[in-house]
């Protein structure tokens, strides 16, 4: 099979869903052919196939973008809206949290809201303090939505199809630094179910629970530590919330040790929930406390070496794993 990039994977999944269901349509800034198919080209080529009504380039109006997706979803369509960079959810949280997430519940089940909100972010691009945050913890704290992020192209294809299928809102987070990653193309119709983690690498000494770009770091250090005789199990959550508790807890019950890892800042991050839950549910299996690794608790700085220092460091991951397994 051919290799595809994550960008292609997302494009293929959307294309496929649009071909199968007339109700699927995209809207967001710069997404249509006239603008070159999106700043990251995820919607490239789709206007030509499906027309401007189904690939709607919007004004810079995030509240109107998400609101339109909500309304169209209530009317039975399956909108895929795009918030160009994740920090801009700051202007439209109301539509996502007070509306998209709650309308099923508040209507007593009458108005589900099947929509996908795609957004991009990532530290390490040089975009500075207002364009790099990972805010998944905000969404994870809200009932009524799924929060998803792929770490590879194949999962991107499969998760996107499942996100479009879902009858509830899905926040779909794409890491800018992952767009170029390639996988073997899993092919048409491929789906990765929401709420299912992947054991990206099996191991027996410690469970390293992560998602998105830091899965790459996790796999790399797991390989290195293997040579030193430390066997790291890497869990790629894929769905951050509601997450696959079963897989996570099973892994920790097996290894007896756990570390959470994400690019988002550590305090009050998603790792806190996972760590808190693990210690509560796996208390008797744990050989030591669950540790957490996250980004530095500050805005993302501009200067390249500061930005690089801000990100979770592989050296720190290694040190924490060693300390945890008692080989520090």
């Amino acid at each position: 099979m051919a290799e595809i990039t994550m960008t292609q994977a997302l494009n293929l999944a959307i294309d496929e869903a649009m071909a199968e269901d007339d109700g699927v349509f995209c809207l967001g800034e710069d997404v249509s052919a006239k603008q070159g198919g999106g700043v990251f080209k995820v919607t490239a080529g789709l206007t030509e196939k499906y027309g401007e009504h189904r690939i709607r380039a919007t004004p810079i109006s995030e509240t109107a973008i998400v609101g339109a997706a909500v309304g169209a979803a209530l009317a039975g369509q399956r909108p895929i809206c795009e918030i160009m960079l994740m920090n801009f959810v700051g202007v439209c949280m109301d539509q996502i949290v007070n509306h998209a997430a709650k309308l099923r519940f508040m209507s007593g089940g009458q108005t589900p809201c099947p929509m996908v909100l795609r957004t991009t972010t990532g530290v390490g691009v040089g975009f500075g303090g207002q364009h790099s945050d990972m805010l998944e913890a905000w969404f994870a704290h809200v009932a009524g939505i799924h929060v998803v992020t792929p770490s590879n192209a194949a999962d991107a294809r499969g998760l996107m199809r499942s996100a479009i299928d879902a009858n509830d809102p899905v926040i779909f987070i794409e890491n800018i630094l992952c767009y170029g990653l390639t996988s073997e193309d899993p092919g048409p119709g491929y789906r990765v179910p929401l709420g299912k983690a992947a054991v990206a690498r099996e191991g027996s000494d410690i469970s390293l629970i992560t998602y998105g770009r830091t899965v790459l770091d996790a796999m790399e250090i797991a390989g290195e530590l293997d040579k030193e005789g430390i066997s790291v199990e890497v869990i790629d959550l894929r769905t951050i919330a509601p997450y696959d508790e079963e897989t996570v807890l099973a892994s920790v019950r097996k290894t007896g040790r756990a570390i959470t890892l994400h690019e988002a800042v550590k305090p009050f991050g998603t790792g806190a929930e996972i760590a808190a839950n693990i210690q509560e549910k796996c208390w008797d299996s744990l050989k030591g406390p669950v540790r957490r690794i996250g980004g530095t608790f500050s805005a993302v700085p501009f200067a390249t070496h500061l930005e690089q220092a801000w990100i979770p460091q592989k050296s720190d991951m290694i040190a924490q794993i060693k300390a945890s397994v008692g080989k520090a």
Partner: protein
């Protein structure tokens, strides 16, 4: 403008009185302490809502606010379910989970009732976008207040609707107050309708207390939207004749304002028009009596209805929990 035909006029009258009698009943129940919930009175705005709903087709979409009783009952929501919802009962439109501020009844086109000021407009665009996408010929009407016109979502929604020529009517009920703040204290604009021009949109301002102004304007706006010519902003001038919600103080309203408001009460004005158009006192009273009887039955039904099961707090969160 042509005269409103008699049948339509009677329809508007009936809807108006439905709104008014519901409002009176709700206030009565609250006064008597028979129910204790948040309720946003619509006294003074009955006609505007009713005329707007009378201009829509049955399957058109409506998005309204916490102060949405007028749109909801005038659009024809089943009133037993409406009262059930307001009283937090299992028989309510939303099984008692939404409540007075969040009535949803897709069967009658009441798609969203929102409590966040201005947030209905962007959502209404989405409903209209769906109609445009699948060519179902529906129009969406979104109702909101003068205060809501100052929030960002209003602006974004107006611009986007006009850009795409969505089949939508933006219906602003300018009742001169946003909560405790008078119009002149929340904007320096002369009115809300003139903001439409800034988006290249059609904007009209009408007396929401005069059926011969407000109904034709709504009919025309709906026709404009339905025919593909794009959205219209209609501003209906009216008054909020009570406090912001039931029981809330309105001592901040100046004397002159209260006097002006009384003089413009839409109900005596509408009755006058009806009599001029040869409807009899008896006919009109009979309509009200029938409405009252229906409401009394619905209220009793709601009072007698069971509470939703406590499990409902875990249901309808995601599809898996439906």
């Amino acid at each position: 403008m042509a005269e409103i035909d008699r049948e339509k006029l009677l329809d508007i009258y009936t809807r108006t009185m439905k709104v008014n009698r519901t409002d009176e009943k709700f206030r009565e129940l609250l006064m008597q302490g028979k129910v204790a919930v948040m309720y946003y009175c619509v006294r003074g705005q009955e006609l505007a809502s009713a005329a707007a709903m009378a201009a829509l087709d049955d399957d058109d979409y409506v998005v309204c606010t916490y102060r949405g009783q007028g749109e909801q009952t005038a659009k024809g929501i089943p009133i037993e379910k409406w009262w059930g919802e307001c009283l937090g009962k299992e028989t309510g439109t939303c099984k008692g989970k939404g409540g007075t501020m969040h009535i949803t009844d897709p069967d009658t086109g009441i798609m969203v009732t929102t409590g966040v000021v201005g947030s209905g407009l962007p959502i209404a665009n989405g409903l209209a976008m769906a109609s445009q996408n699948n060519g179902d010929g529906r129009v969406t009407l979104v109702s909101f207040g003068d205060g809501a016109a100052n929030i960002g979502g209003f602006h974004e929604a107006m611009n986007m609707a006009q850009l795409y020529k969505l089949p939508i009517v933006f219906f602003c009920q300018n009742n001169r107050y946003g909560e405790h703040t008078a119009f002149a204290d929340h904007t320096d604009s002369p009115d809300i309708s003139s903001r439409a021009a800034g988006y290249g949109m059609k904007g009209v301002k009408v007396d929401g207390n005069n059926v011969n102004e407000v109904y034709p304007a709504m009919e025309e706006a709906v026709e404009h939207a339905r025919s593909g010519k794009g959205p219209v902003l209609v501003e209906a001038m009216c008054y909020r004749m009570m406090g912001h919600f039931f029981g809330s103080d309105f001592s901040y309203m100046p004397e002159e304002h209260l006097a002006e408001m009384q003089a413009e009460d839409p109900l005596p004005k509408l009755r006058k028009v009806m009599l001029e158009r040869q409807f009899t006192e008896e006919e009109l009273d009979k309509i009200v009596a029938d409405i009252d009887a229906e409401i009394d039955g619905a209220v009793q039904h709601a009072l007698d209805a069971p509470l939703p099961s406590t499990d409902e707090i875990y249901k309808d969160v995601l599809e898996e929990t439906a």
